[in-house]
Symmetry: C2
Subunit: 158 residues, 2 copies
Amino acid sequence: MTDVTDGTRWLDDDEQCTWRAFLAVQRLLFDRLERQLQRDSGLPMTYYEILVRLSEAPDHTLRMSQLADSALSSRSRLSHAVARLEAEGWVRRRACAEDRRGSFAQLTEEGMAKLRAAAPEHVEAVRTELFDALTPAQLHALREISDAVVAHLCRPRP
Amino acid sequence: MTDVTDGTRWLDDDEQCTWRAFLAVQRLLFDRLERQLQRDSGLPMTYYEILVRLSEAPDHTLRMSQLADSALSSRSRLSHAVARLEAEGWVRRRACAEDRRGSFAQLTEEGMAKLRAAAPEHVEAVRTELFDALTPAQLHALREISDAVVAHLCRPRP
DNA sequence: ATGAACGCGTTGAGTTCTCAACTATTCCGA
DNA sequence: TCGGAATAGTTGAGAACTCAACGCGTTCAT
C-alpha cells in the first residue's frame, strides 16, 4: 500500500497520523453535534444551517441558488430540504419576477421561532465539544488553517 | 440571537468566523473526497475506511464491534455496510466460537484488490485537496488540534 | 430574430444513514 | 444457580443525500 514505484504520492507516517486524527475529529464531532440537534430540535445540521442563512438575509429572503451557495449545499439537496422546511411551515417559497426560472425562499415567523428555540443548545454544544477543547492559540491556528483550506478548495480549478 | 441574558455562551464574532470556516472545510473537503471516491471506485468513504481497517488487522479479520470502534462507526451503520460489502464479495462474515453472540468480518482477496485499486486516487485527492493547502507548520498545528479535540471528545463524559 | 447553449430549480430512483426495537448470548450478584 | 442486566449484532422503517434527467426561462451569437 505504500509502494513508491507507482507514482502515487503516498502519505508518510506523520501525514497518515494527521489525516486520521483529522478524520476522527470530523466523525466524532459532527456525529455528536448532529445528534444533539436532531434529538433536541428535530433538525439535521444542514437544515439548521439553511435557517441560519435565511435569518441573516435582508427580509429573511434569498434566491435558492444564493442560499445553496451560502449554505454550501448542492441545488438538489437544497430543493429537497426546502421542501421539508416548507411543509413544516418554517420556510415559504416565493416566485421571482425578474427571472421567472428562479424562486425565493423566505423564513417565516414560525421558522424564526424554531431557529431561536434551537440555537442556544446547539451553540452550547459547539462550545463544549469543540471550543472548550482548544487554547486561544489553537483556535487562532484553526481559523487560519480553515481559511487556507477553503481558499485552496475554492481556487479556480487547475 | 446574541442576547446575553439567557445564559447561553454565544460565540463572539471571531469565534463565529472560526466556526464557520471550519464548517466550510468540513463540507467542501469531505464532499469532494466522497465524490471522488464514489466516482472512481463506487465506494462511500465510510466503506473505504472499513476496508482499510480490516486490511491492517491480523489475518485481515476483526470482530464487528472492534471494527465499528476503529472505523468510528455505529454498530448499526457497520452492520448495513458490511452487508453490502459482503454482497460485493469484498468482506466475509465468520462466526465467533468464543462468544457466540459475536461475529468476525474478514477482508477477502477481492476486497484487498478493491482497496488496492481505490487507494492511489483517493490518497492523491487527500493530498491535493488538503495537504497541498497547508504549510508544514500548519500541518503540525492541525495534528495537535485534532489530537486535542479527539482526546476531549473521548474523555469520560462529565 | 432565431435557435443553441446555458442557468435555475425540481424530481425520482436508488443508496446510506439513524433510531428504536429485537434476538441471542453472556455476565454477575444474591 | 437462578434471574435480571448488560453486550453483540441485526433488522426495518423512515429520513436525507446523490446522481442524472428533466422542464422551462434566459442569453447570446449569428
